[in-house]
Structures are given as structure tokens and as C-alpha cells.
Point group: C2
């Protein structure tokens, strides 16, 4: 059974004439007649009978035309659904991010997506890179926001599409009364004798940059307490348990009793924050929108860091 034939039959039944049907569907009367003849061969039923110099649909013809109408409606429905999905009026966008981005980068980006594509459902999960990348490759999620060990412009050619979001610099967090609190820029070496609050953000892929910075400064810091997140870490600093080195994305909210200071530009450790997706999804409106939103949110974060009164 062929949709064009059913369409032709439906037109014939609707108009009551082969010629008018031909006009309607843009064929010649001959083509319409042959389509109906083919349907009659396939179904074994007589669909039209001659009536005077025109034709009249039989009961079978009317019945099949009725079903054809149903089918056309279903086809239109399918097309509408696909085009809705294409334009982002439907579907689910599945995003995974690493924990810190989940606080400062994702919320504004998601807000933008939800505003632009209000009918898209967004499913957000938080996971480290070792978990999130396989999920992306296996098609369980559509967009991953993660820390990469490669700098901007050095995206790996691994079959995925990488979008550089920002280089997230580590900052020093000092208690308000710290001897270096008055300085705007601090060299890591100056803190060799201080106590340190350790921050274990999950499995520590984001620790690489910071530990390298300590190696370069020539000492291993003296850890006092270990915080499992960046916000409690601020509390430990405020309580005087030590100083901490925290990436700027982790400083979205600040404790009253701490100050944030930059490290010397040339020795400033950074986390390369990337978004990744599968190339097949680049035509996907929600994915495109999300990537755009992430870039914009990242840009705004960078601007806020540069201009912000608290140097965060």
C-alpha cells in the first residue's frame, strides 16, 4: 500500500471526480486512474464504478478513502512531531556536569534554555569526567560539562565535539585577618608555612592543576582538614584552620569572614572547562541552544571575575 495511491483515492472520493482529484494532487487524470486501478488490484476490491460520464466511489472505495484520511492525519502528526522536535518544542535535553559547574555555570545556562525552549524537558545530572564521558559516548546523555586536561584550542580529536567554555583560575581564600589579606596578588611560595584546608572535589581530576602549582612553588602544603566541597572549605578557612586554594567557579557564594585573592598571573593554576557533545547532535536545537547558553554563561562568569569587586 502506497501513501500516494491512498492520497489519490481520497482525492477522488472527496471530489467525486478523477479529473478534479488529479488537479488536487497535481497529477494527470491518467495517473490518478492508474493509481486507483493499482489499489483495486492490491485490495481485490472495486473502489470506483462508472456513473454516467463520471465515476462514483463504491462502499469499499469510501471505506478505504476514510482510512486514507486517517493515515494522512497520522503522517501529518508524525511530521509535526519531528519538526517540533527539530525546532526544540519537544524532547528531552540530558546534561551532565561536574559538581562545581553545577553551581555557577549550569544554572544561568539552564535558565536561558528553558526560556528559549520552554517545551524542552531538561534532565540534569552531576558526575565526574570518568563517569560522564562514557555516558555521552553511549548516548545516555547529550551534553557533558567537564574539566579537561587540555587547553583551549587543543580539543582532542576523539570523535566528540568539544566546546571550550572558560579557563577557571584557582584563587586563594584567606581568613579576613590573615597577614597577606591586604595584598591583591599573592605568590604561592609565600604560603609555604601556612596550614591548608584540603578540598576534595570528588575523584580529584580537578586537583591536578593545583597540585602542580604546589610542586612548582617548591613545597607540599601542610593539610589540616579535608573538605568534601568548596563551600564548607570556606567555613574551615573562616574558622582559622588554614588557607585554601579554590577554583573561581567554586566561589559563587562567599563566607563573610574570608577574602579572595589572586595568585601571580604567571603561576596561576587553571582548570580548563569544556562542554562536549556527539557530532550527531549538532543539528539538535536543544543541544545547540545549551552549548550557546553555556558559552554565554561562561563569558559572563569571566567578566564577573575580572570586574567583580571581590576579585573572584
Amino acid at each position: 500500500m502506497d501513501l500516494r495511491r491512498l492520497r489519490a483515492l481520497q482525492a477522488v472520493v472527496d471530489t467525486g471526480s478523477v479529473t478534479a482529484a488529479a488537479d488536487q494532487v497535481g497529477y494527470t487524470p491518467s495517473a490518478v486512474s492508474q493509481h486507483v486501478a493499482a489499489l483495486e488490484r492490491e485490495t481485490g476490491a472495486v473502489l470506483l464504478e462508472r456513473a454516467g460520464r463520471g465515476i462514483r466511489p463504491t462502499e469499499a472505495g469510501r471505506l478505504l478513502a476514510e482510512h486514507a484520511r486517517d493515515l494522512m492525519a497520522k503522517v501529518a502528526e508524525a511530521e509535526a512531531a519531528i519538526s517540533a522536535l527539530q525546532s526544540g518544542n519537544l524532547g528531552t535535553l540530558r546534561v551532565v556536569s561536574f559538581p562545581t559547574a553545577g553551581a555557577s555555570l549550569i544554572p544561568p545556562a539552564l535558565a536561558m534554555v528553558r526560556q528559549e525552549l520552554p517545551h524542552v524537558e531538561v534532565a540534569l545530572r552531576v558526575a565526574e569526567r570518568d563517569d560522564s564521558m562514557p555516558m555521552l559516548r553511549q548516548g545516555e546523555v547529550d551534553v557533558v560539562v567537564t574539566v579537561g586536561d587540555f587547553a583551549a584550542g587543543e580539543a582532542p580529536r576523539d570523535g566528540l565535539t568539544w566546546v571550550h567554555l572558560l579557563d577557571d583560575p584557582y584563587r586563594l581564600v584567606l581568613p579576613r585577618g590573615h597577614r597577606l589579606a591586604g595584598r591583591r596578588v599573592i605568590d604561592l611560595a609565600e604560603l609555604a608555612e601556612d596550614d591548608w584546608v584540603e578540598t576534595m572535589c570528588g575523584v580529584g581530576c580537578c586537583q591536578e592543576a593545583s597540585s602542580k602549582a604546589f610542586r612548582n612553588a617548591g613545597y607540599e602544603p601542610h593539610w589540616t582538614v579535608e573538605a568534601d566541597e568548596y563551600w564548607p572549605a570556606q567555613g574551615f578557612v573562616a574558622a582559622g584552620l588554614g588557607v585554601a586554594m579554590i577554583p573561581s567557579l567554586g566561589l559563587g557564594v562567599l563566607h563573610d569572614s574570608v577574602v579572595v585573592r589572586r595568585l601571580r598571573k604567571d603561576k596561576e593554576p587553571v582548570r580548563h572547562v569544556w562542554a562536549a557533545t556527539r557530532p550527531a547532535l549538532l543539528g539538535n536545537t536543544p543541544v545547540k541552544t545549551m552549548l550557546r547558553a553555556l558559552e554565554q554563561a561562561a563569558g559572563e562568569h569571566v567578566r564577573a571575575m575580572r570586574d567583580g569587586p571581590r576579585a573572584r
Copy 2:
């Protein structure tokens, strides 16, 4: 949008593999791949993405495949409906008959149809030939049972299909005490002086044969009362208002006080009773069944007339 393509896509999404889908629908993997590619071109959506050495359907692919499943179900539904209609498990059979057949011929025929095709609706109307034939030609009804002015084997070539059912002989109906009531066969000429009960069955096309018989007998009968149907006419005869000539089909029920007698075979007027349908309907199971049933009912009526104890 093409059903074959949707079918291919559905198979791919179901099996998760182009090759397996090709096996399922009986194509080569290349053909399936190209069908999906065509769908992607038409919809502008990516339906499949490569995953390892296989493929994985995208959200759009799954969505479209789901709609394809719906469509296939609708197509199967349409095919089932048509084949049900073909086999006579569906639909409406519209029959028109002349009044007398509506009493003796139609009921057993309809009973047979309803038994053989219990799901077919039957719409029965009663009309004279001048009304019923246009109805048949215009497609308002499917089968007409009527009195024809042509004998068996002389069906007109008028674009319709005619089936001879029976030659319905006129009978004499006499009151029990009539002077000729003891005879089995009567010559019409013997009743020249009797009073007659006239029977006007509608517009009187069925009167032709009887009036010709009177002309042949050489007299014009003396009409006393006019009955609009055959059953009341029996009542008039029973009441002694005269004798009547009534076709055998009109004698399905007999009044207690009348007797039925044959006319001389060579002068016996008959009504040619025919069924007609449009040739396009000859493939229609209900129509075929109805025609067969009518022939059978007619045969049984003829047998009953021949063997019946009351010579009707």
C-alpha cells in the same frame, strides 16, 4: 513520506542494526541505509548516529519509528477493513423490492443472507420499478427485485446485471361457495359474468399481464371494489364481493373462506420477476449472497406452488 522507508526505519530502531533490519524487511543493508538517509533528508533530522561499529537511533529516530509503528497499525487496520468488507463481514446491503416480493420472496432470502453474513447490515425498502431502477443506477441501493416486462433469457442490455428469479403466475381466488370452486383449472372466459375485486398494487406495472389476459379472454371485467393490497382483496372475495386474480407471490397467507384455482396453462398470465444489480457490485460478497439467496427462495416458491396442497 513513504511507508517502505518508515518500515525500514522502524526495523532499524527495533533491531538496533541496519543489517538486522535489512534481513527483517528483505532488503540489503545498503537499501535500508539509503532509505533512512532519504528520511533524514526529508525531515531534516538526524535519525541514526554511528555508535562503535553499529548505529544508535537518535531521539528523532525513535520518535519517527514510533509514529511509523502507528502508521503500520493503521495500514493493517485499513487492509483488514477492506478484506472484511470483501468477505462480507462488514458493510450494508441495500435492497429494494416491489411490494409482493417483499412478502414472499424477500423474507427467506434475507434470512439466508443474515445467517451467512451475520455482520452485514441489511437495509430493505419497498418501491415500484419506476422508483427503484433510478435508485439502483444512482448507487443508492445495491440490489433491486422487480417485475420486468421481459421474459427469462431476454434480459435487456442496459448496463445492469439482471438475474431471472421466477415467472410468477396469476391465480384465481374464489369464494368457497363459488360455482367453479370445485374445478382445479379454470378458463378465464368462464368468469366473464362474475363481479371482480380489483387489486391495485401501487402504480400497476404488475397489472399489465393481467389486463392482457382479460383482453385475450375477450371481455372487460366488472369491477366492484378496489383493494390496495392483495391481502385485503382476499377479504373482499371471502365477503362475496366478487372473484380476484392475484399473483401467486401475493398468496403467501390465505383467507379461510377462499379457494385458489389455476388458470388454463396456455392462457396463464405471469409476472416476470427479476433481480438487478450494477455490474460493479458482482464482486461484492453481500450482493452475490443476496442474489444467490433470492434465486434459491424463488426456486423454493416455485416448488411449493407445484407441490403445495392448495395449488398456490
